[in-house]
Symmetry: C2
């Protein structure tokens, strides 16, 4: 508790220092940190080996071990990420709006850093570098709470970054890591409202839920994606099969993967058997309603819970509907406001769907897998917001900023 307060104070001191840095200086520092990570790769790999050993001892799955594992190429990739962030435009200080009032006041709305950002995340140590890069570029101080599985890796990565910052005459408290992996400390961190302006959880639905429950700091929820594809009666069924195949199988463990198919009764018979054949390649399990089952070979009945589940696996739920309205109602009832898609050749139907479905990203004839900061052209991504406050959908650099009003007067008083 006392330690966290201390960290909060240091981050606040750092934030005032960071907000004054020029774009050139920030980019130079990012490049230096990239070089520092590569030239200290051995130290980092050594620490990572300790995490890997613990992981193996604790029976971590092969998939998890792979996410945890660092090698020289992966460290180079993290460094490359920083170089890319250095190339992006700096939005801090940007004038967003100006207005001159009748009383002579001039009001200027300018983009400013958020201040201090807290990030709570799991497993992958590359998030440590990513988060630093995006926060530093936007002149924010960051306090990180990584997963205990990656503790040694994170400690070493943060140590290297802090060393480079000091060498560049930047306050090393621009990045701080909470090393205490106690749950009570994490909860305490979520209540460090006096010092932290924004808290971003990245990880499992359970982690995010815990942050929403406990945090007094404003939170941006990220990541849970129960994404739907609705195949309309006027769909190009060949395109529909390609889109569903891509959104379901191109990468299964990600939030923008398709989890549920909604199909119009009129194309059910023509579409589902064809789709089943395509998805069989990847052994996708189909869980459908009775009408879907009538035209499928291998399937099991879907429960209401299935329709609300983000599988992150080779499983697809299927729901048959009789109308666009029913499709929209089903999706709005079950989705997580992440990404949903309609496949249709009918423009009016498409517009109705795009307007009525309440999600961050609504697609017409394209895979939900495009919900991603890089695919959107932001050049970076800190996560995908599934809430409506502040940021929605992919979050890039601008989403890590706030604004302030500067008001220029010459003695105006209120009447």
């Amino acid at each position: 508790m006392n330690l966290l307060n201390e960290m909060g104070k240091k981050a606040c001191t750092a934030k005032y220092h960071l907000q004054n840095l020029s774009t050139e200086k920030k980019n130079e520092v990012l490049k230096n940190v990239a070089r520092g990570l590569v030239s200290n790769a051995q130290r980092i790999l050594h620490a990572n080996e300790k995490d890997m050993e613990n992981g193996r001892k604790n029976g971590m799955s092969a998939g998890m071990l792979d996410r945890l594992c660092l090698n020289f190429q992966r460290i180079e990739a993290m460094a490359d990420g920083l170089l890319q962030v250095a190339q992006l435009p700096d939005c801090i200080g940007e004038v967003m709006e100006t207005s001159a009032r009748p009383n002579g006041l001039e009001i200027v709305k300018v983009r400013v850093p958020m201040g201090v950002i807290g990030i709570i995340y799991e497993a992958r140590p590359n998030v440590t570098v990513d988060a630093f890069g995006l926060c530093f570029k936007t002149s924010n101080a960051v306090i990180l709470k990584g997963g205990s599985d990656a503790l040694y890796s994170n400690i070493e990565i943060v140590a290297v970054i802090r060393e480079v910052l000091e060498h560049c005459q930047i306050s090393p408290d621009a990045i701080q890591l909470i090393e205490d992996t106690n749950r009570a400390t994490t909860v305490e961190f979520m209540r460090l409202k006096e010092y932290v302006d924004l808290l971003i959880p990245r990880g499992s639905a359970r982690l995010i839920q815990s942050v929403v429950e406990n945090s007094t700091i404003p939170v941006i929820e990220t990541g849970t994606g129960n994404c739907h594809i609705y195949v309309d009666k006027d769909a190009d069924l060949c395109m529909a099969a390609q889109i569903v195949y891509n959104a379901k199988t191109q990468r299964i463990g990600v939030c923008n993967a398709c989890e549920s198919l909604v199909v119009h009764e009129e194309v059910r018979e023509a579409f589902l058997p064809a789709l089943e054949a395509v998805l069989a390649e990847k052994k996708v399990e189909l869980r459908g309603d009775d009408r879907a089952g009538e035209v499928l070979t291998n399937w099991i009945p879907a429960t209401e819970e299935d329709y609300a589940t983000e599988y992150l696996d080779y499983i697809l739920s299927i729901k048959t509907v009789d109308s666009l309205e029913e499709a929209i109602a089903h999706i709005n009832h079950n989705n997580t406001m992440h990404s949903d898609c309609i496949v249709t050749e009918n423009m009016q139907t498409a517009e109705e769907f795009l307007n009525q479905v309440d999600s961050a990203c609504v697609y017409w004839n394209a895979s939900t897998r495009f919900t991603d900061g890089f695919e959107f052209g932001f050049g970076a991504e800190i996560g995908i917001s599934t809430q409506k406050l502040h940021a929605r959908g992919p979050m890039g650099l601008k989403e890590l900023t706030s604004y302030k009003y500067k008001i220029y007067g010459n003695g105006q008083v209120r009447k």
Copy 2:
């Protein structure tokens, strides 16, 4: 609990209905509600008399009774407010950004309603009408939890609004009032995350604190304002006295009133006695540090707590500093990120202050009393945000909206 869930569901159904309304229809409805309030004034005044009676019985202060009291003029003023909102442009549906990606995807960022907004407030029944008008204009459904002191007034106002909505073929659940004044119900409301997209508390610091502590719904904190005016060594002292006088005394019970004066050592002797003479008119109590006291006639010593206090009264704390840096540090330590001002003739000093002070509104040579949606030209105001997420400073109609991405493809899949 069950009742709240029911209300949440109804609000969600209403929100889909509201998002489809044309601007013309919304404006027509607002005008009808305005007429309805005036023509049902007797009913509302009758209910208000019950609240007033209870207030008098419970020993409510004269000031509070005045805030609670309705009369025909006040009802007309509430109706006028709705007519003004009807005149404002409708920002829903506005295209905020578009981009064409190399793969042919077209991404369109459009402004959409927040969905369901919850507002928890105290005392004044005019907030009920205000909140409805702003939420309705932005196609949001609203669930209100007013203060128990105004319960009968609020019930009647909401009943009138719902009757007009029904008459206009609009879902009356566009506005719902929680009539149960139990604290447990209020806390339950703060956790109605499944249905409510945004919660705005309006009222005392204690109310806001309780919402921040308990809510799982994203919150916008409003209202607490420990506003500072810094009189620099290069200030026009005559202008400075006018600005402090205005910001301190023009209206004392508001969040943008000045609570603390910071004065540079070099002008302390020349400025403070002159200011004391001006403020004596309004019998403002001065609480200063020793150096301020040296040149004041009537004063008491200020404690550290004084510097952190929003008095909302005829009291001003005074701090002497030796430099701009010290002034900025003192303000950033004690302010509530609401509104702070510098009085100086030195442009460079002013810019440094405006850049470094971490507040929603930073003023150069003007009264802090201008932090207000109407003074900013927004035409409306739902509150003043003192957080950095989503909205900062005065919140108008746009601050009650979110956005979504519509993505137009022709079969794109991710590689």
